[in-house]
């Protein structure tokens, strides 16, 4: 009797320690975001003095100001446009290639696939220098099209790998049935394979969407003109110009993470899957 009580007490105290540890780390994770939101609701006068986490008066007008005068409406839409375009591009291009690598026969197949996979492993530093030169030559620099193509390329290898792994494990019977019904290869890819691959496509979508939304260096090099800039570059530019306008900057930062947080909460399952699978690839 006594020993069972002892074990119970031990178990409870163990749990308390674990939860204390986990909660401390959770607070450390969340506090910077909380402080960002809190700062975004203060005014230019109070932000340097008022250290309260929940300000007495909430100045939501900072958001309107950032959105309208700070130009964040434009940058937000730019980011959204680039993200959606790149993700659609990657889905089409990489699923076609993955389907071919998995199912179709053609000379040089293995070599091409190997090069795609090798690209994931070799870190080429400074490739952005050459990419910049190339885009200049092609007159694609400072154009949305150039940026979208570059970003499709960035996500291609991993997406092809994830999709090919899935297609390899998919039973062939469904495709055979479709073929007997007179479906062309493109028809099979579009009507049979893509719908079946939905779970993997979700992983591909989430990983690439996060990646494009958060991308910085290529956007910095490619875009000179402000109306084309995505959020990440615009935030840096804004900070450079209005060094001390912290409430507006914090409002801009908060606006920029809303889609990411929403996507993360809604698609958490797929992110976890993508991260664990993606890591095994590399």
């Amino acid at each position: 009797m006594r020993s069972s009580l002892y074990y119970k007490a031990k178990k409870i105290s163990e749990n308390i320690i674990i939860h204390l540890f986990m909660l401390t780390v959770s607070v450390t994770c969340l506090f910077p975001l909380l402080w960002m939101i809190s700062s975004s609701l203060k005014t230019q006068e109070t932000i340097f003095k008022d250290m309260s986490i929940i300000p007495k008066v909430l100045h939501f007008e900072n958001y309107c100001q950032a959105w309208m005068q700070g130009g964040f409406d434009r940058y937000f839409l730019n980011s959204l446009f680039y993200t959606v375009s790149v993700v659609i591009g990657i889905i089409i291009v990489s699923s076609m290639a993955a389907y071919a690598f998995s199912r179709l026969k053609f000379p040089g197949k293995n070599i091409i696939f190997f090069v795609f996979i090798a690209a994931m492993m070799i870190p080429i530093q400074g490739s952005f220098v050459a990419l910049y030169v190339l885009l200049n030559k092609l007159h694609l620099r400072n154009t949305p099209f150039g940026y979208i193509l570059c970003m499709i390329n960035v996500g291609l290898s991993t997406s092809i790998f994830l999709l090919k792994t899935f297609f390899d494990r998919m039973p062939k019977e469904l495709e055979d049935a479709a073929r007997i019904d007179g479906c062309s290869k493109f028809g099979i890819w579009w009507h049979v394979c893509l719908p079946l691959a939905k779970p993997v496509l979700a992983v591909v979508v989430v990983l690439n969407a996060l990646n494009v939304w958060n991308e910085f260096i290529l956007a910095l090099l490619i875009f000179d003109s402000r109306p084309l800039m995505p959020l990440q570059v615009a935030l840096i530019t804004f900070q450079g110009e209005f060094v001390t306008r912290y409430p507006l900057l914090m409002a801009g930062l908060t606006i920029s993470i809303i889609p990411i947080i929403l996507l993360y909460i809604l698609m958490q399952k797929y992110i976890v899957k993508g991260v664990t699978q993606g890591a095994v690839v590399g």
């Binding site: 969340l30 910077p32 050459a130 193509l149 900070q239 993470i257």
Partner: protein, 290 residues
């Protein structure tokens, strides 16, 4: 007919291959080409200088300081960040409440952009108006408060810790996934054999987790050596050169001093360093498995 079918098959890989060739292979080759030239990126004339760019990289003190500093950040990430990640995953790998909540929270920093993380932390760490210094003063440690990011003694470590803050959730996720593949029966068996918690941790968890630990270590090293957006936003490499890292130097050679050839030579040197690290890791990994 057969030819037509083969051509049709090629159409499937054509878009991917073209994009890949233009935006990956061509830049890859031209990095090597450009590294032999002195070129400002604008003039039509490039001056061939042979290996001079590489010779200069080798004697470039700031460059090697940057390499060393990214190594320092990597060391902190390898030990501090991964230790915390492992500890959290180990604590999470049992029947406890709010497991999913913790997992949700820990992975928030990794999904944020480095620009956002950098700017928010810069504000928290601000020497005059930052909340960290305010709190230190409140709790009677005002002598500890100072300008974290502009003091050469603390700037690099501060940046490294923010990097760990952003990255640990990612290691946590991989460790947790690894821990969950360990069959529960093994722990049961160890307990029946009279092993205490520490024994079963040492003799069951650690050996079975070794592959995951190695994987996370490799990814941490390669990822952290290439860190720069966070630093670009927080300090821009300053004060002086105290938080410079290789990729920032490459960017500075290209944008600051318009020396495209030199930037490419730096990029290749750094690529070689990374490949050497991967190779050493690979050999060590193979040896430990054999």
């Amino acid at each position: 007919m057969k030819l037509k079918a083969t051509l049709e098959n090629y159409i499937f890989v054509l878009p991917a291959t073209i994009i890949f060739a233009v935006f990956y292979i061509i830049p890859f080759i031209s990095v090597f080409q450009l590294s032999f030239f002195d070129w400002d990126g604008i003039l039509p004339t490039k001056i061939f200088v042979g290996l001079n760019n590489f010779k200069e990289v080798i004697t470039d003190k700031v460059w090697w300081q940057a390499v060393w500093q990214s190594g320092y950040i990597t060391l902190i990430a390898l030990t501090f960040q991964n230790a915390i990640a492992f500890l959290l995953a180990w604590a999470c790998d049992r029947e406890i409440r709010m497991k999913n909540f913790y997992r949700l929270i820990f992975f928030i920093p990794p999904v944020l952009s480095e620009v956002v993380v950098g700017l928010v932390w810069q504000w928290i760490l601000n020497g005059n108006y930052g909340i960290l210094n305010y709190w230190l003063a409140q709790f009677g440690m005002a002598n500890l408060a100072h300008n974290w990011l502009s003091d050469p003694n603390t700037a690099l470590t501060t940046v490294a810790i923010v990097h760990c803050w952003k990255g640990f959730g990612w290691g946590f996720l991989l460790f947790l996934a690894g821990l969950q593949t360990i069959p529960r029966e093994l722990y049961e068996a160890a307990r029946v054999d009279g092993a205490n918690a520490w024994n079963s941790f040492k003799n069951v968890t650690i050996p079975l987790m070794m592959p995951v630990v190695v994987l996370v270590a490799i990814l941490t090293i390669l990822g952290t050596m290439q860190v720069f957006v966070l630093i670009y936003t927080m300090t821009g490499g300053g004060p002086g050169y105290h938080t410079e890292v290789p990729v920032l130097r490459i960017l500075a050679s290209m944008r600051g001093s318009s020396r495209f050839g030199y930037a490419c030579a730096q990029g290749i040197t750094f690529g070689v360093i990374l490949c050497m690290i991967s190779f050493v890791q690979y050999m060590v990994n193979r040896k430990s498995r054999a």
